[in-house]
């Protein structure tokens, strides 16, 4: 059978994208989930995998072409003679096939760690006119008598099906391995915990239904963008898991600013701009080594703190589709200039949507700099599973009482939000003070304490 492979529905508002690379050729035999093309969307570049095993009969798109979601990209012959042999073996196990196809169309696991990055598109078949269950086995002729399949009563089998669980994967605790309703529910809980590390500490308070807002005037409803939805989930997660405290402080960066402006003037040709964020990253490279409890993660399940022997800092980037946090890795192994370069590069690529999904994960600490916009002091939300985030506001000239008089000094407001489970107030105060002193007296960084 010739099967059309289409660009699946990736998310809201994604209607089209570009073919970056074609990974197969006509005549190739492909396996299930083997990448067919690289497809660039609003957010990131993704692989479009094959939904079935077969031979590539026709490739209908070309590199560089802009194509739409739903468009057919490749045609695969699923009955190609040389693959039928193995297919027969696969198809003789109806229960396995059902669970495989269920796995195929499971939604993309949303990791609460970072806001949206499209990691891997899961293959879907061309949607039929009527909404049908994902590829049900062709039973038809002889009814499937579920002998030797799950030992579960009809009601329990129905529950499993409604919950989207393959009853044959559930282990039964009853006599003879009988599966009860509770067994099915326990299985579902296990799957949920496995899927994306959704921690057990999700708030269980009942969320009330929204009142009818049109009661008080005109309203306009707009579907949330994918990025927005993912941010929403991420921050809700962080908010409910992390007990937040924000420690505020101010750093006198008058001298740092002079140095910075000088440097940038002298190095105009190199194109590298030293920013406050880049300097902060360098400071944090040392700071997080001195205060490793701010570069860690809390694991309540094992009642432990996990120290991370690497320092990857996420930088909050404001893009037109929302907040994204690309990560610059191994801060401690890079010079300020390297950091500035990496920072500029990743920020730019995040804004123009060419950042890779893997670049949006793995951070140990985050910096959120609102200096470009303005404002004084804010309380950033820790990006779980990290334990701290440094918010930076716009520096401004302030009168500071030094040596008996008021002097104009350039003051940078800093807001350190932290997970109180990992660190206490005193720790945070000390850590932030350390950062301030490093900014004010940078040479202290090189003095052994």
């Amino acid at each position: 059978m010739i099967r059309d492979v289409i660009i699946p529905d990736i998310g809201e508002n994604i209607e089209k994208g570009d073919v970056i690379e074609i990974r197969v050729s006509e005549g190739d035999i492909v396996e299930v989930d083997q990448p067919l093309i690289e497809f660039e969307t609003d957010k990131a570049v993704v692989d479009i995998p094959s939904p079935s095993k077969g031979r590539v009969v026709k490739i209908l798109v070309s590199k560089g072409e802009t194509i739409k979601v739903g468009q057919v990209i490749v045609q695969i012959d699923t009955d190609a003679a040389d693959i039928l042999q193995t297919k027969k073996k696969e198809e003789s196990k109806p229960s396995k096939r059902e669970s495989a196809s269920e796995a195929k169309t499971q939604p993309i696991p949303i990791r609460a760690e970072q806001p949206k990055k499209v990691e891997k598109i899961v293959a879907v078949e061309k949607p039929p006119v009527v909404k049908a269950e994902p590829a049900l086995p062709d039973i038809g002729i002889e009814p499937v008598l579920a002998i030797f399949a799950a030992a579960a009563s009809p009601t329990v089998r129905r529950l499993a099906r409604e919950l989207g669980v393959d009853i044959n994967q559930v282990s039964g605790s009853g006599p003879g391995g009988r599966i009860s309703e509770d067994d099915v529910k326990a299985h579902v809980k296990k799957l949920v915990l496995q899927k994306g590390g959704e921690p057990a500490a999700i708030t269980t308070t009942r969320v009330p239904a929204l009142p009818d807002l049109s009661k008080w005037g005109e309203i306009k409803r707009e579907k949330l963008s994918r990025v927005r939805q993912l941010i929403s989930e991420s921050v809700s997660n962080s908010w409910s898991i992390v007990p937040h405290v924000t420690q505020f402080d101010k750093a006198d960066i008058t001298e740092l600013e002079d140095f910075r402006n000088n440097f940038n003037r002298k190095n105009q040709k190199s194109g590298i701009k030293l920013t406050v964020t880049a300097v902060l990253m360098k400071v944090l490279a040392q700071g997080l080594k001195e205060f490793p409890r701010f570069n860690a993660s809390i694991d309540p399940a094992s009642e432990s703190i996990i120290y991370r022997n690497y320092i990857h800092i996420g930088i909050a980037v404001d893009t037109e589709r929302g907040l994204l946090v690309p990560v610059v890795r191994d801060i401690d192994k890079k010079s300020i200039v390297d950091l500035a370069r990496d920072l500029n590069d990743v920020a730019q690529r995040t804004r123009d949507k060419s950042v890779r999904p893997d670049e949006l994960e793995g951070g140990t600490f985050t910096i959120s700099n609102q200096g470009g916009i303005g404002g004084v002091d804010f309380t950033p939300i820790v990006l779980w599973p990290q334990v701290a985030i440094l918010g930076v506001s716009r520096s401004s000239m302030q009168p500071v009482f030094i040596n008996g008089q008021f002097e104009p000094r350039l003051i940078l407001p800093l807001s350190l939000s932290y997970d109180h489970r990992a660190n206490d107030g005193a720790d945070a105060a000390r850590f932030l003070r350390w950062i301030v002193e490093a900014l004010e007296q940078p040479l202290m960084l090189y003095v052994d304490k």
Binding site: G140, P143, A150, A151, G164
Partner: protein
């Protein structure tokens, strides 16, 4: 927007689907050539045959009663009255179902339907008026028709199929039943009890092919006495209409033979009705066995068209159709229901009845499964003895490792009523211990089920078997 559903065919599959869909709030149009819903089952199948079989049972019992000191004289059979009672039964049921259809505000059209395309039907009603209607979804429940023997098509009123046999026009002196399956044996039983000399011809080496032999044997003994002759491994070669009957040429173990019969009943199976209603205008596919191809939700290759019942495959039983109806309607309503029963019971309404569900011993042997078969003979059943009917057997096919009941088979009077407990046991994945720890009332035939389960865990109270464990 309300779902607009058309159901083509109002047999047990079709009307169950229509009723369930209406109860779910869908707008249903039900199309069938008969005045009321009922299909083959109610009009010319399950129901009339069971009515007649009940009469046959009464005649048999009355005859048996002389062993108990009660002698009845040979019954006088008023065929017209019998026929009219049978028709009354059909009327009552079909009328009742018709009422239910009206109560549910179903748009019942007496007529036929043809697909113009996947969503459009051309409906012709009984007054020949045609109309085109569009539907969001269609369920095909067109059922099946008696199969013909290739090469034996002879157009004669003396050659009957199950439909004409049920019309009971007369009681032939001699009747040849071609096909030793359940229809042939049931109809043979009716005619034999009413006075015909019945000969049964079966192509394979046993009656009711596929059914466990020990169950069939309980029946075969009695049928051997009731029927004039049972010819196994025999096929009919030719049928020729003659002046006063049909001359039949058959080929069997003893070579070729010729014999004349007053009437012949051809009961060699049933074929699904898939022709002449425009399926070629849709994406619906028919498989190599002639059934409509469907998935677990009974959806065909055309997403808006479902099919249920005899037209989609074996077993061609009314209760399979009605349960497929629930699945198809659920699927239309967007639910994740799939047709995956652990057991579909089957009943042969001969005397003794035979009923089974789940895994049979025959299947278990074929697949080389690790099972234990327990058998409780009815000669050890108190109730069976009070009925004077010890020609019975209750057996269970049990997973050796776990004690889980995988199949139940029963031969004996009332087997059809008893098998439901077996279905429940298999569906619930009951263990033998669950069944024998459940108190069954005494003295009833249901105790044979309890004791067959006991045999798995040891001995049963009333029957000792040679211990193999």
């Amino acid at each position: 927007m309300t779902t607009q559903l058309a159901v083509i065919g109002a047999g047990p599959g079709g009307y169950t689907a229509a009723f369930y869909a209406a109860d779910q709030g869908m707008e249903v149009t039900l199309i069938d050539p008969a005045k009321n819903p009922g299909g083959v089952c109610l009009y010319r199948g399950c129901i009339p045959s069971k009515a007649l079989l009940h009469v046959a049972e009464v005649i048999s019992e009355a005859n048996h009663a002389k062993d108990w000191g009660i002698s009845f004289s040979k019954p006088i059979i008023d065929l017209d009255k019998l026929r009219s009672w049978k028709n009354e039964v059909v009327e009552k049921l079909t009328g009742g179902v018709g009422q239910l259809s009206k109560q549910r505000k179903i748009n019942y059209i007496q007529g036929s339907a043809r697909f113009i395309d996947a969503n459009t039907l051309e409906v012709e009603d009984v007054s020949k008026k045609k109309s085109r209607q569009s539907f969001g979804q269609v369920i095909i429940a067109t059922g099946s028709s008696p199969a013909k023997v290739p090469g034996l098509s002879i157009d004669s009123p003396l050659v009957m199929d199950s439909t004409s046999a049920l019309e009971l026009n007369d009681i032939p002196e001699s009747l040849l039943v071609i096909g030793g399956g359940y229809i042939g044996l049931e109809m043979g039983t009716v005619y034999a009890t009413l006075g015909s000399k019945v000969t049964v011809i079966e192509m394979t080496d046993g009656l009711l092919p596929g059914v466990d032999r020990d169950l069939v044997n309980e029946l075969a003994r009695r049928l051997g006495n009731m029927f004039h002759e049972i010819l196994l491994n025999t096929t009919v070669v030719e049928l020729k209409e003659e002046k006063k009957g049909i001359k039949v040429a058959f080929k069997g173990e003893a070579g070729k033979k010729e014999q004349a019969f007053d009437k012949v009943l051809i009961s060699v199976g049933r074929k699904p009705n898939t022709k002449n209603f425009g399926l070629e205008n849709t994406k619906v596919l028919i498989n190599e066995k002639g059934f409509i191809q469907v998935d677990g939700q009974r959806r065909t290759k055309e997403p808006a068209i479902f099919a249920i019942g005899d037209v989609v495959g074996e077993p061609m039983l009314a209760h399979k159709a009605s349960h497929e109806a629930f699945v198809a309607v659920d699927a239309i309503a967007g639910k994740k229901t799939v047709f995956e029963p652990a057991a579909i019971p089957a009943v042969v309404f001969t005397d003794p009845e035979i009923a089974w569900c789940g895994l049979t011993e025959t299947e278990a042997k074929r697949k080389n499964l690790d099972v234990e078969i327990t058998k409780f003979p009815w000669r050890a059943s108190g109730r069976a003895i009070t009925l004077g009917r010890t020609d019975g057997l209750t057996k269970q096919i049990i997973e050796r490792q776990t004690g889980r009941i995988l199949g139940v088979g029963i031969a004996g009077p009332r087997a059809g009523e008893l098998i439901a407990e077996g279905v429940l046991a298999v569906e619930m994945a009951a263990l033998a211990s669950d069944v024998h720890l459940s108190i069954h009332p005494h003295p009833t035939l249901s105790e044979t089920i309890m004791e067959a389960a006991e045999l798995f865990d040891g001995q049963s109270t009333h029957f000792m078997r040679a211990r193999r464990k």
